[in-house]
């Protein structure tokens, strides 16, 4: 079935790279269909991912205009936001959710789009399946009606979230009218501490520059600490670019990227592969590339991170205390005090030792096989705390099957919780998996907004390891304490 797909329109070299260009500009320029003074650029989109929530109104728009989907073979659909993560073979209980998923099925059939819906072996969170199927590749452009589309930037691609009017635009024309953002470089260099991973890096960066610090920019992540990450780790980083306000983030492709894509279902094969891989190695920012902003961080400064507030910028090292309200500017103090009140925390409170009720390991940020392996390696031989409910939700059907093949499901079961079925789950309080009012959840997802995981739920964002540690102890815990006492485990992280 892969031969029919056409995800590859821009895999050919765009010509000689000009000096002083950023990788972002090189890819952007190679995708400009039309550029006119005073107008946003018309940007060609290689692949458009769609899901059930932000597409129905766009399909209606096409019907109203009497237009087809212009390039259905460059459109990939899945159902993820509304799906249950238990008993997926049964009809979706919630009527409106079921209707929205059914609508996607009907729309895809009518407009000739292949759907990886419930029951399909490729179904999963849209930002997990694109990469794992080899649809996501270096040098290409991707959009989706979902802000975490930035995930795909991990491959050295331009990928960002769009609204439904723009979903309609891309369906109708395979193009997007878009103003070129500014470019920011964020370098992280040095050695990470044991127990500190990609999630901690990105939570740390956001805590330093705030939830609005990247607004107006497209970020390139660089530096040896970023380079040393696996593709899964890089996806975690790029995924949360939007949480600092940036439209997207990318990482120049290297051998790690090429090895990850090689052999995947829709990846180029044979001669095509050789050509593509050679081209991808030419994709990097020139040494004299000019960025509008550059930030540098030292990896050694980063502790395991945890958020305490109601936006992802409100994060601290896990051993630190909740900041004092008085440390903020007067005009910010009201919003800050409201956030602490919502979270049931007070000034200078220690995060370590805070009792929690739920642990959610999943979402487009942290639901890939590597995340599950890491959690399983830690949790093996341990039990979840009695007072804690743990949900481990794989990002896709393929991740789920891989986990079962590796026996990770048995490890989770022995620890007192089952491996669930793929979907967005408790990341956004839209499906059946919601955190009850007032309850605390240590979550590997990406947003700690008020009510994000369910009305009045309280979210502490953290890495999969920190979440797993909390699952075992029933409270916020420094994973490094376990590392000291468990040399075997230390080998694994």
């Amino acid at each position: 079935m892969s031969t029919e797909k056409n995800f590859n329109s821009s895999s050919l070299p765009p010509g000689e790279g000009r000096g002083g260009a950023t990788l972002f500009d090189k890819i952007w320029d190679a995708h400009i269909v039309s550029s006119n003074e005073g107008f946003p650029d018309v940007l060609y989109i290689d692949t458009h991912f769609i899901h059930e929530v932000t597409s129905p109104q766009a399909f209606d728009g096409l019907r109203d205009r009497g237009l087809p989907v212009f390039r259905p073979k460059q459109t990939v659909a899945t159902a993820d936001h509304n799906v249950p993560t238990w008993d997926q073979h049964l009809p979706i209980k919630e009527e409106l959710s079921r209707y929205q998923v059914d609508m996607l099925t009907k729309n895809c059939a009518e407009f000739g789009i292949e759907l990886y819906g419930l029951g399909h072996p490729y179904q999963g969170i849209v930002h997990v399946i694109g990469p794992e199927l080899g649809i996501t590749r270096p040098g290409c452009t991707y959009v989706c009606g979902d802000s975490h589309t930035s995930t795909h930037g991990a491959f050295g691609a331009i990928a960002f979230g769009i609204g439904t009017s723009q979903v309609e635009q891309v369906m109708a024309t395979q193009c997007l009218l878009q103003q070129r953002p500014k470019r920011m470089k964020i370098e992280v260099n040095g050695q990470l501490q044991k127990g500190v991973g990609a999630k901690d890096i990105i939570l740390y960066i956001i805590s330093k520059i705030s939830a609005a610090g990247g607004t107006g920019y497209f970020v390139e992540y660089a530096g040896d600490a970023i380079r040393s990450l696996s593709m899964e780790g890089r996806m975690t980083i790029c995924n949360m670019s939007i949480e600092m306000g940036a439209r997207g983030g990318l990482i120049a492709p290297d051998q790690t990227t090429i090895d990850y894509v090689n052999g995947r279902e829709f990846a180029p094969k044979g001669e095509e592969w050789d050509k593509a891989a050679a081209y991808w190695q030419t994709l990097y920012s020139d040494e004299d590339a000019v960025f509008d902003s550059e930030l540098y961080f030292d990896a050694a400064d980063i502790e395991p991170m945890i958020t305490y507030g109601t936006n992802p910028g409100m994060g601290i090292g896990i051993t630190q205390h909740v900041p004092e309200t008085s440390s903020f500017e007067t005009k910010e103090q009201g919003s800050y005090a409201n956030a602490l009140k919502y979270m049931g925390l007070h000034d200078d409170e220690s995060m370590l030792g805070k009792p929690i009720d739920y642990v959610f390991i999943g979402s487009c940020t942290n639901s890939r096989i590597e995340d599950l392996r890491e959690v399983a390696a830690f949790i093996k031989g341990k039990q979840k705390a009695e007072n804690v409910t743990v949900w481990v939700v794989p990002g896709s059907k393929q991740v789920q099957l891989q986990a079962i093949e590796e026996g990770l499901d048995k490890v989770f079961e022995a620890a007192g919780f089952p491996l669930r079925e793929p979907g967005c789950s408790a990341c956004l309080g839209m499906n059946e998996d919601k955190i009850p009012a007032g309850k605390y959840c240590v979550s590997t997802s990406n947003r700690n907004f008020e009510g994000r995981q369910g009305p009045n739920s309280r979210t502490f964002l953290a890495s999969p390891l920190t979440a797993a540690a909390a699952a075992v102890t029933g409270k916020i815990t420094d994973i490094r304490e376990f590392l000291l006492s468990e040399p075997e485990f230390q080998e694994l992280v």
Binding site: V33, T164, Q174, A212, T215, L428, G429
Partner: protein, 195 residues
């Protein structure tokens, strides 16, 4: 296809002096299940506006009889979070034509502009002044002139100009639509694909 035309407006405003208002507050995910664009206004700021039983919370500004108008004024970094256009639909459906803040999240700003909802970014000082005036006099009117790109507090005559992409301005003042524009480039798209 034509969208709503916006050129000029003068009304009282609704103040919401909270920073980092995210799209999950504007419209929680559990209300994103509709498959049309209508009716989202009923759930605008749902969890701030109503209690768990669905009763209006009296202390929330939209339930306050004193404040009304077609302009929403909010703290900085308005609309951060998800790309859900439903946030812009909810605000427009509720009856707002303009949102004023000292800073907007990118995707929200684009979504608003695509729905005839004008996001106006003002300076911190102007925003502060605006809140002061409105909290002193709930009926204070604000004038928005898109063609001349200024916002003015009628009572004090404080005025500030604002930026808008000239293309987006032309769309809003004429009711043009992005898709019509791109469709006019269809030949270039096919040409690009054949390169």
């Amino acid at each position: 296809m034509a969208t709503k035309i916006f050129k000029h407006l003068q009304t009282s405003v609704v103040p919401l002096p909270i920073e980092n208002i995210d799209t999950d507050q504007i419209i929680p995910a559990r209300f994103l299940k509709a498959t049309t664009r209508d009716g989202f206004g009923n759930n605008l700021f749902r969890d701030w506006r109503f209690d768990n039983e669905g009763n209006p919370k009296q202390d929330f500004v939209l339930n306050h009889p004193t404040y009304s108008g077609k302009i929403l004024v909010a703290g900085k970094n308005f609309g951060c979070g998800s790309s859900r256009e439903h946030a812009a639909w909810a605000i427009a459906d509720y009856g707002f034509d303009v949102v004023v803040s000292s800073f907007f999240a990118d995707i929200f700003k684009g979504n608003a502009l695509n729905n005839g909802l004008l996001p106006i970014q003002v300076s911190d000082e102007f925003l502060k002044k605006l809140f002061e005036v409105v909290f002193e006099d709930a009926n204070a009117e604000v004038e928005v002139d898109l063609e001349n790109q200024y916002i003015r507090i009628a009572k004090t005559d404080d005025q500030e100009s604002f930026e808008i992409n000239p293309y987006k301005k032309a769309c809003m003042t004429n009711g043009y639509d992005d898709i019509d524009y791109i469709l006019s480039k269809k030949e270039l798209i096919t040409e690009f694909e054949n390169k």
